[in-house]
C-alpha cells in the first residue's frame, strides 16, 4: 500500500497537510509532497477535494484474482429443501455467470442433503458442491464457516453470494474475515462491470436514504449477501443436469464450541412474511392496539399475513418478526396494503419489491401516497370495515 500525489490534480490547498495524522505531508512549491514519516494510511486521500491523492493498494498475492473463477451461491437448506432466497440467487447468479462466461455452482452444506441438487441444477447451476456430515446437520457457525472456507480455498470462486438470512449473515461475516475479503450486505442490485469484470454491488445505506454501489477490487472472492425476495426466481428446468462434487468434510464435534439443544418452530401460526402473497400492514396511524383486529380481519379475508412498521413493535404490540422495513423484513408480495403508515423511508425500503401497494391514510399529504399504486384517503377505522365486507361479498359471489 502506497500513497501517491497526482501532480496534475494537486492545487496546493493544504487540506491534506492539516489532516495527516503523522505530519508527513508538506507543501513544496505549491504542491503536496510526502515525507519520510508517511505510513501510507490513506487519511489524506479521504480528505483531498481534488482527487490528487491516489492509493495504491498492496495486492494480496493469495487473492491473485486471475486464479479465481466461477460464481457460487450458498444454498441454505431448511427441512430438506433449499430456501427460496437460494433459488432466487441461483437465478441471479446464472445471469452473472453468463456475463462473465463462467460457471455457476450451488454449494450445499448439511447432512443427508444430496436430494436437493436436482433443484440446484433446475435453477441453473452447472455444478453442485456437497459437504455432507453429521456435524453439519443443524446450522452452527463454526463447522459451517470451516467447511465453506475450505471449499473457497480449494476451488477459488471469483464470486460468492449468500442469502441474508440470520444464518447466512451469521457465517458469511466470519468467512470474509478468514479469507480476508470484502462482503457487501443486503445488496438490492448485482451487476458485472463490463470494463473491469468486477461485481458491482448496490445496497441501501443510512436507513435506505441513499444507495451505494460497492466493489471489491483486489481481494477474492467478491462476496455479497442479498435479502429474500429481492431477486426474482427463474422458471426451473428439471431436465437440467450438472456435475456433482462431494467435498470431504473434516470436522470433529469436540472442537465445536456451540451446541444447539433444540430448534423451536414458533407455536403461533406464523406466516413467513417473506413468502406471503398478500400482506396487510399497520403503522403508527393505528393509534390503539384494538386496530390490529381490523388488519387481521382484512388479512384473513384475503388469505394474507399481518405486518407492522417499527413504531408498533417499539410499543410492544407486535413481535419483531412481523416488522417490515429497514430493521425488519424485506417483503415482495403481490399485494401490500399499508394502513396508517405514513411512508417513512425506513419502512418503504422494505416494501419496494411489492407488485401493488395500496395505501390507506387519513393524511392526504402522507408520503406513502407518492409511491402507492392505489391510495384511499380516509380514516382506517372507517375504511377497513367497508373494504373487508366488500371483499367478502366479492368472494361469496365468486363461489
Amino acid at each position: 500500500m502506497a500513497v501517491r500525489i497526482v501532480s496534475d490534480n494537486c492545487i496546493g490547498c493544504g487540506i491534506c497537510v492539516d489532516n495527516c495524522p503523522f505530519g508527513a505531508v508538506m507543501l513544496e512549491g505549491g504542491m503536496a509532497v510526502l515525507g519520510e514519516t508517511c505510513t501510507g494510511c490513506g487519511a489524506c486521500h479521504s480528505f483531498c477535494p481534488n482527487e490528487a491523492i491516489e492509493i495504491e493498494k498492496e495486492i494480496v498475492t493469495q487473492s491473485d484474482s486471475g486464479q479465481y473463477h466461477g460464481v457460487w451461491v450458498y444454498v441454505e437448506i431448511k427441512n430438506g429443501k433449499p430456501l427460496d432466497v437460494a433459488l432466487e440467487l441461483l437465478s441471479e447468479g446464472r445471469k452473472l455467470a453468463n456475463q462473465l462466461q463462467t460457471d455457476l455452482s450451488g454449494v450445499v452444506l448439511g447432512h443427508g442433503v444430496e436430494g436437493v441438487t436436482a433443484e440446484v441444477f433446475a435453477y441453473g447451476a452447472d455444478r453442485s458442491y456437497i459437504a455432507d456430515a453429521p456435524e453439519l446437520a443443524v446450522y452452527r457457525t463454526e463447522p459451517y464457516t470451516d467447511v465453506m472456507v475450505d471449499l473457497i480455498n480449494e476451488y477459488k470462486p471469483e464470486i460468492v453470494l449468500f442469502g441474508a438470512t440470520n444464518n447466512g449473515r451469521d457465517f458469511s461475516a466470519r468467512i470474509a474475515v478468514r479469507v480476508q475479503t470484502g462482503l457487501t450486505a443486503d445488496c438490492t442490485g448485482l451487476a458485472i462491470d463490463p470494463d473491469s469484470g468486477l461485481l458491482l454491488q448496490t445496497r441501501p445505506a443510512f436507513g435506505g436514504n441513499i444507495m451505494a454501489t460497492i466493489y471489491t477490487e483486489h481481494h477474492r472472492p467478491q462476496m455479497a449477501t442479498v435479502r429474500p425476495k429481492v431477486m426474482k426466481k427463474a422458471e426451473p428446468d428439471y431436465m437440467c443436469k450438472g456435475e456433482l462434487v462431494r467435498h470431504q468434510v473434516q470436522c470433529s464435534e469436540e472442537r465445536i464450541r456451540t451446541k444447539v439443544a433444540e430448534v423451536v418452530e414458533s407455536a403461533l401460526k406464523i406466516i413467513n412474511l417473506e413468502e406471503a402473497d398478500v400482506i396487510v400492514a399497520g403503522g403508527r396511524g393505528l393509534g390503539k392496539r384494538e386496530g390490529l383486529k381490523l388488519l387481521e380481519e382484512l388479512a384473513e379475508t384475503l388469505g394474507g399475513a399481518v405486518a407492522v412498521s417499527r413504531p408498533l413493535v417499539d410499543e410492544g404490540w407486535v413481535p419483531h418478526h412481523q416488522q417490515v422495513g429497514q430493521t425488519g423484513k424485506t417483503v415482495g408480495p403481490k399485494l401490500y396494503i399499508a394502513c396508517g403508515i405514513s411512508g417513512a423511508i425506513q419502512h418503504v425500503a422494505g416494501i419496494q419489491g411489492s407488485d401493488v401497494i395500496v395505501a390507506i391514510n387519513k393524511d392526504p399529504d402522507a408520503p406513502i401516497f407518492e409511491m402507492a399504486t392505489v391510495g384511499i384517503v380516509g380514516d382506517l377505522y372507517e375504511v377497513l370495515p367497508v373494504l373487508t365486507s366488500r371483499l367478502k361479498d366479492l368472494a361469496e359471489k365468486a363461489v
Binding site: 500500500m1 495524522p21 501510507g40 494510511c41 487519511a43 492509493i55 457457525t141 463454526e142 440470520n166 451469521d170 461475516a173 466470519r174 470474509a176 474475515v177 480476508q180 470484502g182 450486505a185 443486503d186 458491482l200 445505506a205 443510512f206 436507513g207 436514504n209 441513499i210 444507495m211 454501489t213 471489491t216 477490487e217 483486489h218 464450541r257 444447539v260 439443544a261 433444540e262 430448534v263 418452530e265 414458533s266 406464523i270 413493535v313 413481535p319 419483531h320 418478526h321 430493521t327 403481490k334 399485494l335 419496494q352 407488485d355 401493488v356 395500496v358 401516497f369 407518492e370 402507492a372 399504486t373 391510495g375 384511499i376 384517503v377 380516509g378 375504511v383 367497508v386 373494504l387 366488500r390
Partner: protein
C-alpha cells in the same frame, strides 16, 4: 461462574431518520443530523449490565470513532458501564466492516481477558450485521448472533435463545464468546443520576492505532477490501391513483382498480 468481565461494543450513528441526500450533488446532507447511540447497542449494554448485576464483574464499553464519539461512551457510563475506551485515530478513517472488526478486536485484546463480548445485532446506519461476527473471528471465539434471550451461565457455558426466521433455537456456547442481540431482548435502562454524575467527571481514555498494536495495513481505508464507487438517491416508485371521499365511494372504486390489476 463467579463474576464476569464483559465488553460491550457500541457505535455512534447518525439518526438515520434525519439523513437525506442532496439530489443535485448526490452527496449526504449531514448538517443538522443528530448523533445517537445505535439503538441495538443500548440493548447490548443493558444485557451486559443485567448480567453484571446478577453475577458480579465489570462492564467495559468500547467504541471506534472520531473524538466526538466520546458522547456515546458518556451515555454508556451514565447507564452504568464501569469502564470505557475510545479507539480513535485518523488511520481508522474509511474502514469497512473487515477493518472495523480488526480494529475493535485489537482494542478488546488490549483490554485484557474477558468472558463475554456483546454487540447489537446491527447498526442502523449500515445495517450490515457483520462487525460482531468479524470481531469474534479475529479473536477466534465462538458466537451466537440474533440473541433474543440470555439464560444461565454455568461452568463457563452460557445458554441463550437465538432468533430464527420462523422460530428460535436454544443454544449453549463455551465462554469466552461473543453475542449479538436483538432489540426484543430487553428494555434498556435509563441513565441514573449517579451514573450521570460519574459520566460528567470521567476522562475518557483514547487509544490510537499504535496503542492497540495494530498493523497499519489492516486499518481504515487501507485495510478495507470494499470500495464505494458511487452514491446516489434511491429510485422512487411512481404513485398511482388516489381516491378521496367517503369510504362508501372510495372503497368500491379502489377495489375495482385492484381487480383490473388482477391482484384480488
Amino acid at each position: 461462574m463467579a463474576s464476569m468481565n464483559i465488553v460491550v461494543c457500541i457505535k455512534q450513528v447518525p439518526d438515520t431518520t434525519e439523513v437525506r441526500i442532496d439530489p443535485q450533488t448526490n452527496t449526504l446532507i449531514r448538517e443538522g443530523v443528530p448523533s445517537i447511540v445505535n439503538p441495538f447497542d443500548k440493548h447490548a449494554l443493558e444485557a451486559a449490565l443485567a448480567l453484571r448485576d446478577r453475577l458480579g464483574g465489570t462492564v467495559t464499553a468500547i467504541t471506534m470513532g472520531p473524538p466526538m464519539a466520546k458522547l456515546a461512551l458518556w451515555e454508556a457510563i451514565a447507564m452504568g458501564a464501569d469502564k470505557v475506551v475510545l479507539l480513535s485515530d485518523r488511520a481508522f478513517a474509511g474502514a469497512d466492516t473487515l477493518a472495523t472488526g480488526y480494529t475493535l478486536a485489537m482494542g478488546i485484546r488490549k483490554l485484557g481477558p474477558c468472558d463475554l463480548i456483546i454487540c447489537g445485532k446491527q447498526a442502523i446506519d449500515g445495517d450490515t450485521a457483520q462487525v460482531g461476527p468479524g470481531i469474534a473471528e479475529h479473536l477466534n471465539i465462538p458466537q451466537i448472533t440474533c440473541v433474543r434471550s440470555i439464560g444461565s451461565v454455568d461452568n463457563g457455558v452460557l445458554a441463550a435463545e437465538r432468533q430464527l426466521e420462523s422460530g428460535f433455537e436454544r443454544v449453549t456456547v463455551q465462554l469466552p464468546a461473543l453475542l449479538t442481540v436483538e432489540r426484543t431482548l430487553n428494555m434498556p435502562r435509563y441513565a441514573s443520576m449517579q451514573g450521570t454524575m460519574r459520566a460528567i467527571e470521567e476522562d475518557i481514555p483514547v487509544w490510537s492505532a499504535e496503542d492497540i498494536g495494530a498493523n497499519p495495513v489492516k486499518l481504515g481505508l487501507a485495510g478495507s477490501p470494499t470500495q464505494v464507487r458511487r452514491v446516489f438517491a434511491p429510485e422512487r416508485r411512481q404513485g398511482g391513483q388516489v381516491f378521496t371521499g367517503a369510504p362508501e365511494d372510495t372503497v368500491p372504486a379502489a377495489v375495482e382498480k385492484l381487480r383490473e390489476l388482477k391482484v384480488i
